[in-house]
């Protein structure tokens, strides 16, 4: 009896365990976040040992049918067709992760949200009647339930790996929501705001890039969007005492995360 049990356990172990299926989806975006996954290079091979890359047009034409265990969604919703398609993606996905500023906040294309899109269409296209577009560029979470949002423009490849890794190991990903300043300080980078003067969005921006721009003596551009409890108005009020003008403040918050609520409200406060 004991021998028989041992044999069946061994047989079960030998039976191929189904790897979770991963799909990558693109909406209105530049493909940069998808490329972050390709940038993983060495690590990507390890990822492929544990996960089946079932749908990833940037990497392969091979498409394996859904449903998918994990879907990475890049891009924002800007057309009626995409507004339909995202529901199909959601139906096929057990765990849906939005990757990047477009998918989580509407992206740079959300600058249209502050203007009348019809005027852009007539200014840009010779034959506007062929253009079918929505008035606003909106994040995925405005349309379907999102299980996890990964910030960045583009996302940080180590954070992307961390999300996949955490999913595979059934743990919470380590993706902090505190400020970029914490990353600067842990790296020993001298604060440019204090040592040179404004401007840097680090104190109101979520960490995740490992303080990339400040490490090259550039102020933070806010690629990872608002941090937890961002006090943008206090930062701007202080900069105004140092002579920073409304136009500059408007421009600072009208970046890749212009439509993220905290940044949107702040930029609107500096509109003429």
């Amino acid at each position: 009896m004991a021998t028989k049990n041992k044999k069946s356990v061994k047989a079960a172990a030998q039976k191929k365990i189904r790897k979770p299926k991963l799909a990558v989806w693109k909406f209105s975006s530049c493909d940069g976040c998808q490329l972050s996954l390709l940038d993983c290079e060495d690590e990507l091979l390890t990822v492929a040992e544990y996960i089946e890359i079932a749908n990833f047009p940037e990497a392969s034409r091979r498409v394996i049918k859904g449903p998918y265990d994990i879907s990475l969604v890049e891009g924002s919703i800007t057309t009626p067709h995409d507004a339909e398609r995202i529901h199909q993606v959601r139906r096929q996905s057990k765990f849906l992760v939005t990757i990047g500023a477009c998918a989580t906040a509407g992206g740079i294309q959300a600058l249209r949200n502050f203007k009348d899109v019809k005027k852009f269409i007539s200014a840009v296209y010779a034959n506007p009647k062929f253009i079918e577009t929505l008035n606003k560029s909106t994040p995925i979470a405005d349309h379907v339930f999102v299980d996890f949002e990964l910030r960045g423009c583009p996302v940080n490849k180590y954070q992307l790996l961390e999300v996949i890794n955490a999913y595979l190991n059934g743990r919470k990903p380590n993706t902090p929501s505190y400020s970029v300043c914490v990353e600067c300080k842990r790296r020993g980078i001298t604060c440019g705001l204090v040592a040179h003067g404004p401007t840097c969005l680090g104190p109101v921006t979520q960490a995740g890039c490992d303080a990339l721009c400040p490490s090259y003596h550039r102020g933070c551009f806010g690629c990872f969007g608002p941090k937890e409890t961002p006090n943008t108005s206090a930062l701007c009020a202080y900069w105004q005492t140092l002579g920073v003008k409304d136009e500059e403040l408007l421009r600072l918050f009208r970046g890749f995360n212009a439509y993220a609520e905290a940044f949107r409200k702040e930029s609107e406060a500096h509109e003429n």
Binding site: E43, T46, V47, E49, Y50, L161, E162, I164, N165, A166, L168, N169, R171, N174, P176, S177, Y178, S179, C181, V182, K185, R186, R187, G188, I189, T190, C191, G192, L193, V194, A195, H196, G202, P203, V204, K227, E228, T229, P230, N231, A234, L235, Y238
Partner: protein
């Protein structure tokens, strides 16, 4: 204690003498628009002829018109980054056939050479003493801190000028180093000479000084060194009235000033990161993709983060007011209950490196003046 005098030109020999005793010498150096602490090869790496101008939310590195070596004040970094690094791997475990095969990194024998800290200010000596109390003298000893702290050699420097945000005099932590050093220097620079008065704190300090060219200090040297630190003390213009401060803060937890400052505070955590006594950490557990190995990584944490007070159901300190109040009250009140000293040494870093220039001395004053 013995007091010697040596010429400025001998500074390089002093560093060399320390290095010969197999120390890794860490000292001030100009880098990245500030005076920071890094490994130095010799006296030429020191910020000779440099100074800084500091104010609320502002630091500017400036050239001096003389060759003063230590005529500057606390910079963006503190010695904390060496004794208590911002990111440290503390534990590795591997899945094995028997269960887990673990390795606690704090129990390894140190492979690196010991540190010699060159140019430690009095406020910073006090900060190190405070962290010693936390990590080495409580019921739980931190093996990682103990490993880095063991056998370090300290050359202190008495401040010859006060910085724009200093308030060590209020906290009784400076500007003159009293204990916790092997050698304490006072820089004398005038028309006639450029030399250092060196006070020994330990036999090791005395032994090293004996190996360089120095003479016994004359009474006038000692008087001049005292005059310099006394002058510095007078220059300090920020003050904290510490009388009964613990009770003042405890009794004013609903003071309107907390709400006022909450509107200015960015909760960016810069103040806690630059503070030489702040010791909070978080641990992150990471796995490899295959789930065969796990690591625990300790990182500097801050009471300004929401996750810091997160328990089941949410963060205990959700409001900015509660987070700012926690930090200030810990420094000036609950630290006393916990460790028997203040948690602030008056170095002024939190004032200089706050992106919006919030001044902790002003906050304390505002609460004390209009008590509720």
């Amino acid at each position: 204690m013995k007091i010697f005098v040596f010429e400025c030109a001998e500074l390089d020999n002093l560093i060399a003498a320390i290095k010969r005793r197999r120390f890794k010498v860490i000292g001030p150096t100009v880098s990245d628009s500030a005076i920071i602490y890094a490994e130095i090869a010799g006296a030429s790496d020191l910020p000779i002829g440099w100074t800084d101008e500091q104010a609320n939310g502002s630091y500017r590195l400036k050239r001096r018109d003389d060759n003063a070596v230590f005529a500057w004040n606390a910079g963006p970094q503190s010695w904390k980054k060496f004794l208590f690094p911002p990111v440290q791997k503390i534990f590795i475990t591997n899945k094995s056939t028997k269960g887990f095969d673990s390795q606690n990194l704090g129990e390894q024998t140190p492979g690196e050479s010991r540190y010699a800290f060159f140019g430690v200010r009095s406020c910073e000596l006090n900060a190190i003493a405070i962290q010693d109390k936390i990590f080495l003298e409580g019921p739980y000893i931190d093996p990682l801190y103990r490993q880095k702290r063991a056998g370090i050699f300290i050359v202190a420097v008495n401040c010859s000028q006060a910085g724009g945000t200093c308030f060590c005099d209020s906290m009784q932590t400076g500007p003159k180093a009293v204990s916790g050093f092997d050698i304490a220097l006072t820089e004398i620079l005038d028309d006639k000479r450029h030399c250092f008065v060196a006070e020994t704190g330990t036999a090791a300090g005395e032994e090293i000084l004996a190996s360089i060219k120095c003479t016994k200090a004359a009474d006038e040297d000692i008087t001049e060194a005292k005059r310099i630190t006394d002058r510095t003390r007078v220059q300090i213009h920020r003050k904290v009235d510490t009388a009964d401060l613990k009770n003042v803060l405890y009794q004013n937890s609903e003071h309107p000033r907390w709400e006022h400052t909450a509107e200015l505070c960015l909760t960016c955590a810069n103040c806690t990161m630059v503070c030489p006594t702040c010791f909070c950490t978080t641990v992150e557990d990471v796995t490899d993709i295959g789930g065969k190995q796990a690591e625990r990584i300790r990182k500097w944490d801050s009471c300004f983060m929401l996750d810091f007070s997160y328990i089941h159901g949410g963060s205990v300190r959700a409001s900015v007011k509660s987070r700012y109040r926690q930090w200030v009250t810990h420094k000036f009140a609950s630290w006393l209950d916990q460790f028997g000293t203040f948690g602030c040494v008056g170095c002024g870093r939190c004032i200089t490196w706050c992106p919006v220039g919030i001044d902790i001395t002003e906050e304390v004053k505002a609460i004390r003046e209009k008590q509720t």
